[in-house]
């Protein structure tokens, strides 16, 4: 027998490699993002504004076509403080991920929150996007580095409870 410690665990890797091709709505939205604009789409049936747009209304099942610009400012609808490292995420721990209901949109958008103490992040907090310098903008969501508090008064939960 070996005098080494017994083997108590194994690493079981799983990996899939995709080539992601965004649909027409996502493509238009990405091209707008590369110009510093957040362009969503509105449902012709229920008037919900989707950002990012998927090309269809999840509620009505109809195609969305008309573009609507939404603000780079919004309200935190939920958040998490992440303290567990992940190999392919190059962020210092802890960091804060949040769902942010952008002004003009009806569904929340995913973002990071910084320039804020972790125990001060709260549901209803107003935040605004901090963009990369324009010269570094590309066709990806990383044009927005993170969101930071605006200092505006919190939004009462009642006002966004239908948009979680």
């Amino acid at each position: 027998m070996s005098d080494k410690e017994p083997v108590k665990s194994i690493i079981t890797p799983t990996r899939t490699e995709y080539t992601y091709t965004p649909g027409p709505s996502a493509q238009r939205s990405l091209r707008a993002l590369a110009r510093g604009k957040l362009v969503g789409e509105i449902c012709p049936s229920c008037n919900q504004v989707y950002y990012p747009p998927s090309g269809a209304c999840a509620r009505c099942g109809v195609a969305t076509r008309d573009e609507v610009e939404v603000a780079d400012k919004g309200t935190v609808t939920t958040y998490a403080i992440v303290r567990v490292p992940s190999e392919n995420i190059d962020l210092e721990l802890p960091y804060c991920t949040a769902h942010i209901l952008l002004d003009g949109a009806d569904i929340p958008f995913f973002g990071l929150i910084q320039e804020c103490e972790w125990d001060a992040v709260r549901i209803g907090m107003r935040v605004e996007a901090v963009w990369k310098p324009e010269s570094e903008w590309g066709l990806n969501a990383e044009n927005i580095r993170y969101f930071r508090p605006t200092g505006e008064p919190d939004v009462p939960f009642e006002q966004f409870k239908e948009h979680l």
Partner: protein, 149 residues
């Protein structure tokens, strides 16, 4: 002019660390020592790979361990013409169910047979261990056709 269609690579990858428990811990520790170990059920069958429970009765397996192999018999196989990045071998091989000498069940592993034509159900193979073993299934690099068979 229409915009060029966008596309980007997207890799989804998770490395799980799996806790083994006592039975599989013993199996993988055995591999690190270049031994293939099986566990006996109460009915005397030898399970390789070992498990905590006898799949036939549902009873816990015994504390009776035996070394099996390194030779065995291919019970079934499938040829892989184009290995993927995480496969144990970088050239064509067979995935096979191998019943090791002394075992009553079969272990899934790779057979490095060179060509599909060299594979047949019932052929004898033997384990080829890695130079450096770490306590993982890859400690057996592959099974190879037994010489003289």
């Amino acid at each position: 002019m229409a915009d060029e269609l966008l596309s980007a690579p997207h890799v989804l990858e998770y490395d799980y660390r799996r806790s083994l428990g006592e039975v599989l811990s013993r199996f993988f520790t055995g591999l690190r020592d270049r031994k293939i170990l099986g566990v006996k059920t109460n009915a005397g069958r030898v399970l390789v790979p070992p498990s905590e429970y006898d799949p036939e009765s549902g009873d816990a397996t015994s504390d009776d361990w035996v070394e099996v192999g390194p030779g065995g018999v291919v019970k079934s196989w499938a040829w892989v013409n184009e290995p993927l990045g995480r496969h144990l071998l970088d050239h064509p091989f067979a995935f096979a169910l191998i019943q090791l000498d002394g075992a009553d069940t079969a272990l899934t592993h790779a057979v490095d047979a060179g060509s599909e034509a060299s594979m047949r159900t019932g052929m004898r193979v033997t384990a080829r261990f890695a130079d450096d073993t770490i306590g993982a299934i890859g400690d057996i690099v592959a099974f190879v056709p037994e010489e003289g068979s």
